[in-house]
Structure formats: C-alpha cells, structure tokens
Amino acid sequence: MKSLILRDLKLAFRSGGGFALTLAFFLIVVMFVPFGVGANLELLSRIAPGILWIGALLSCLLSLDRIFQLDWEDGTLEALATSPIPLSGIATAKACAHWITTGLPITIAAIPLGYLLNLPTDAYTWLIASLALGTPALSFIGAFGAAITVGIKRGGLLLSLLVLPLYIPTLMLGAQVVATGTQNPAQLLALVAAISLLSIALIPPACAIALRANLR
C-alpha cells in the first residue's frame, strides 16, 4: 500500500498530474469572491467559512475522476486487482494519496485565503481543524463515486451527481464549525470527524465491490 501511495504522489506532482490544477482552482475560486462581492469586510467575514468550504469541495471534486480512471485506462487497475493487495486496500491507498494531494494542500492554503476573506482571528483554529478533519471524508466519499463510474467514459457529470449529495453533511457541518468558531464548536467538529472516520471505515469495502463489478 505504501508503494501505491508513493507512486500516486509521484504521478500527481509530475507534469499533468493534477496537483497544481486542484490547488490553483481553489485559489482562483476563493480569490475571486472579494472581487465579486466587493470590499464589504463584514459581509466577506460572514460568508468566508462557506466560501472556503465550497472552494475546498469543488476543488476536490475536480480531481476525483483521476483516482481510478487513469489506472483503469492503462491496465494498471486490473494488474493491481490481481496483486496480493485487496481491492479495499487499493481504494484506501488511492483515497489517502488523493487527500494528501488535495485535502492537505487545501487545508494549508485556506490560512492565507481566510485572511483575504477577512475571517475572524478566532475562527482560524477551527478552519484548519474542520478542513483537516473533514477533507478525508471528501476524498473517501469521492473515491466511492470514482469507483462506481470508473468504466464510464467522460463520467464526470454522473460522478458529480453521485457524490455531491453525499458531500452536503460534511459541507454544512464543516462550514458551521468555522462560522461558530467563537463559541467553541467542538461538538460540531466531532461530527465532522465522525463522518470522516465512518467514510474511512465503510467506503473502502464498497469501493472494492464497485471496482470488482466494473472489472468484470
């Protein structure tokens, strides 16, 4: 599994790997909001949690089809499926690699972007905590959608339709954690973490079933 994660990281950082695209998309979405909304600091401060979380979600969505599609197209996935690593382990490794190349950089980039959106100082800790604990759910839920649609050419629309409804609880709770940052939203944060933990526990076996069906 370690080899698979390291290879996916290597591929993501190479030319055409998608790492820069995801991060650039997040930066563009969030940086353009002040231009669209105007220099109303109070309004920006109020919408900052939602904008940062929506930006994170859309950036994550942009790279989901790469989780399995490229391996499917070049025959690596069927070779991996006959390797000693179970398909659920392959799904876990690939979702982890996806999180390292999307969720983690988004969490780090959200700090300067929060400043751009006039995020209250007290909310920064909760912003980092909610993104760090919530983005794994985005990667794992996304991996499930990617596993279902792996055999479909240009299945991006179907993937979005499958995954977006499942993202809503994480988005609502994650943005709420940041928005109520001054009132110690530890319980909400625990729920965000719970969604991620449930995703990590339940989704790899479901991915394995979806991949097995697509490989038939």
Binding site: K2, S3, L4, L6, R7, K10, L11, R14, S15, G16, G17, E73, D74, G75, T76, E78, A79, L80, A81, T82, S83, P84, I85, L215, R216
Partner: protein, 200 residues
C-alpha cells in the same frame, strides 16, 4: 497441482461464451490457448485471474492487453513500483533479463509500443507468482524480443512455475501443451440449461 479448474462456465456481457472448461497446470507446465479472435481466450484468462469471478489460486499474475505502464514514470520507477507491490526486489535482474537496463532512466511515454510491452511484461517477473496468465504477450514485439519473452517464460516454467498463454505465434516452448478453446464454445442449449438451473 498449481491450478485446477473443472466445468467452468465463462460469461461475457451476460452471454455464455465458454462452457464446461476443464484444465489443470502443474509445476513446469505451459499451456497455450489457441482459437480465433472472439473465441473466448481473454475471457477464460480473466476468469482464471479472478477478474470475472472467484480466484482459483492466490499465487497468480495476470498480464492483459494493456501494459499497465505509467508514461510519466521512468522504466526503473515503473518497475520499482511493482516490486514494492509484490515485495519482490529484483528490479536490476529483471531489467537485465528483458534488455531494459539501457532504457532504465527513460520515461515510459518516450518508448516505442514494443518497448512499453516489454516493460509491461517485466512486471510478471517481479510478481514472484507461480502461475502466469498472459494474454497475447507478443503483440507489438519483433521476433528478437518475442524470443526474449519466450526465454523468460521458459525459465519461469523450468524453475517450477507454470504459464497459461493466449498467443497466435509459436513461442517454441518445450513441453508446451495446446488447448483449443473452440472445444468449449458454448452452444445455445448450454445457455438454456444454465437459466433453468438458476445460475442467473
């Protein structure tokens, strides 16, 4: 017995392609699948590999029509990845065996189709698996490279492994047995019986 299958029914796109396939391979055996295009050679190999159903042996390596090669990684990086997956650190030996040493720092995307095929097949040598399932391994390979692949298969069988290969050319492997796949082509009546037996 490394692999023993009896009365296997193989389906493709909900259609019964092969019925009652029985075969077995033991240490040192090489089984060549023969049959025209579309007769079910690939389908059978995918079944045996466990891609279309249950696995018959966990010590199996499968090589399909696609090479499983990452174009942005170098030859060495591609092989090191598979060595890590199978825990079989013989990258230098394998590169020597398949004449890839001089290409080790070249990105796979810059290689010819034949060189990529050779790189894809090099994965088989890194699996350490006892049964190799190979689907048209010599496609895009010239005569000299086909001989290199045949030599690797021979060495694998001589070392106690076994191989089931679908190919249209003569690989010149001693002790190789031929299995004519058309002998197992499903008849319409087979399909009907399966339906009645509640397979679907």
């Amino acid at each position: 017995m490394l692999l023993n299958v009896s009365n296997l029914n193989c389906m493709r796109a909900d259609k019964l392609i092969l019925s009652n396939v029985s075969l077995s391979v033991d240490n040192g055996d090489c089984l060549i699948l023969r049959g025209p295009n579309g007769s079910g050679k690939t389908t059978l190999l995918r079944y045996l590999a466990g891609l279309s159903g249950g696995r018959y042996n966990n010590n199996i390596a499968f090589s399909g029509h696609l090479d499983g090669v990452k174009s942005t990684l170098t030859v060495r990086e591609n092989l090191e990845f598979w060595a890590g997956i199978y825990g079989f650190d013989q990258v230098n030996n394998v590169m020597d065996q398949l004449l890839l040493t001089s290409l080790q720092d070249r990105a796979a995307g810059d290689m010819s189709a034949g060189q990529k095929r050779r790189l894809g097949l090099a994965r088989m040598l890194l699996t350490g698996a006892s049964v190799w399932l190979m689907d048209e391994p010599t496609v895009s390979l010239d005569t000299a490279t086909s001989e290199v692949i045949a030599k690797a298969i021979k060495a694998h069988c001589e070392n106690g492994g076994a191989a089931i290969i679908s190919t249209h050319i003569d690989l010149d492997i001693p002790r190789a047995r031929i299995l004519t796949i058309t002998d197992f082509t499903a008849k319409p009546t087979d399909h009907k019986n399966l339906f009645l037996e509640g397979v679907f």
